[in-house]
Symmetry: C2
Subunit: 341 residues, 2 copies
């Protein structure tokens, strides 16, 4: 049933070495006859190698560890972000014949354990903050791409020489800035900002978007007013203050949809009473009314890129043109939730 190299060797009347050589295309020193014979047997018996044995002897398997860092017990896979990422990662891993092991982790120590358990070829880290990323790097030697992790520029220098370390993220600051510009183009001058509650001390996606919002306002000679920055637990205040702005930037479609729903309940109309623009371009954004004007972040591509990055050192292909940090732009999907003033 489960055939091994040894048996193939016996069937072909050759040694295991030869079989191994043929399988790994080290055929320069094998006669064509033998090659064909072996290949036929492999096909006939549907032979596929035992990855555990391979991993054991090579001390490296065809495994990619997909690490979801979270303080929660389990990462929130409901988030469309996770799904899109997975789709991109699966696309590449299948193409490259690698395998993806998913793991939610709550502490950096978890990484050490799982890393010892399996000999991963590389990792993709999601949900890491600068601090946890730094700690993770102490442990992980294999190539790793961190998705959406921001780091201080000062730290960047130390990373520069660090091999096997990659980053992929959106250009959140620029994208937020673009959102402001779009609203300004449409005649808006009073622009609010709504986001999830986060620790503003930490460097992350939200902080960057906030900074981009601020930059955008300044660039368009509009003042930044901290009273126009709201958090998801203040939706009532957002609505109370609706007269103080004509448009609002929301850092997630989900939150935007929630807001719109509340606004409607209170008798307000979008975009007439208030324009809404957001991030994500999730599937739903064009199913609701009004259809959301939102920023497509191409999270599936992000997944593809993330795995693509580490595949370079993993496969040992020359890495001349590879960048350590890939910053992706977004693409605005202009739909109905922003009004021309």
């Amino acid at each position: 049933m489960k055939i091994t190299i040894k048996e193939i060797a016996k069937l072909a009347n050759v040694s295991m070495t030869t079989v191994s050589n043929v399988m790994n295309n080290r055929t320069n020193k094998v006669s064509q006859e033998t090659i064909d014979k072996i290949n036929n047997i492999i096909k006939e018996y549907n032979y596929t190698p035992n990855m555990n044995a391979k991993a054991l002897v090579n001390s490296s398997s065809k495994l990619i560890g997909l690490l979801f860092y979270t303080e929660q017990e389990i990462y929130n896979f409901n988030d469309p972000f996770a799904g899109q990422l997975l789709e991109g990662i699966e696309t590449i891993s299948r193409k490259e014949n690698y395998f993806v092991l998913i793991q939610t982790i709550n502490s950096v120590d978890d990484i050490g354990v799982i890393r010892n358990n399996w000999q991963f070829s590389g990792f993709i880290g999601v949900g890491f903050k600068q601090q946890t990323m730094l700690e993770a790097m102490e442990i992980i030697q294999e190539p790793i791409t961190f998705i959406d992790t921001y780091y201080d520029e000062i730290k960047l220098k130390e990373f520069k020489d660090k091999e096997n370390l990659y980053f992929v993220r959106s250009d959140d600051k620029k994208i937020a800035h673009d959102l402001v510009s779009h609203l300004v183009d449409r005649g808006h001058r009073d622009i609010a900002f709504l986001t999830y509650r986060v620790n503003l001390k930490e460097h992350g996606v939200i902080q960057e978007r906030l900074a981009g919002y601020r930059d955008g306002l300044v660039a368009h000679d509009l003042g930044f007013d901290s009273k126009l920055v709201f958090y998801n637990d203040q939706l009532d205040q957002v609505i109370e203050n609706i007269n103080h702005y004509s448009a609002i930037i929301v850092t997630a479609d989900l939150l935007a949809i929630q807001l719109i729903s509340q606004l409607k309940e209170q008798g307000f109309s979008v975009p007439d009473d208030c324009s809404v623009i957001s991030f994500d371009n999730i599937q739903f954004s064009e199913l609701i009314s009004p259809k959301l004007t939102t920023m497509n972040l191409f999270q599936n591509v992000k997944g593809e890129v993330a795995l693509g990055q580490i595949m370079v050192p993993i496969k040992g292909t020359p890495k001349e043109n590879i960048q350590q940090t890939i910053i992706m732009d977004g693409e605005l999907e202009v739909r109905e939730s922003v009004k021309q003033m």
Copy 2:
């Protein structure tokens, strides 16, 4: 750095066997002193076993293969279903110290390959139809749970004796029936049905729901009218015929939201002109307006149950009370999209 049993044995001045015994709690024949000594070393050096070596010698690893069957190139992980399932599966796998390898497969042959590659302890199959399930079973010997796969009752008999085969699904027929009953309770008598286009010959979730819809109508002395069954590519017809029904059952929140959005655009109001009730209870269903009355299917629990099922034979715990097929009920979330007539 990466310490092995051999080295632990040396450090503890014992043999590898003893170390192995201690690690696997076969401590009945080891002195407490030795146990402590070994455990301390393990802790000190942060030792964790090499799973590949273990898998090789045991011909079974702590891997669960999560197989997503699809005709597409990549499974649609965007679907909230996949995320919820994953969440449930991860919850249990973490608890049990097992690892989840995700794989999209396009044909049953793919299973053979991946199964040879790694020695899985068990599998969870998603997206399998009866035919592909049957084929998969020919190949897979390990415990497997199929999620949401329906099979003919005739075939059931053959399965009865089949070890290691489990099913988890919702009671789709009963749930659809319940939906009809709820609508009838609310005074509706003309009830339409909207679903995704599927092959009606195949036995699956949609077919069951359709049957339940039919049963429900009959049970309430309402006639079944095939003209009131619509498919997702006929949304315009759904709306054209709006006078022929007062409520519509939609087999997915996503589709329901799409419909509502279209209805609104055409100037209709939900639930006043048409009540809508659906399946899934996705996160969005209570963020939109009107808030969706929908059936919670507990897909995350489904994931937990699926893995729980196969963990029984995997861990070799006595499986007296285990059922081969677990059928889960839903729970109606009554919100705003159904009108009291």
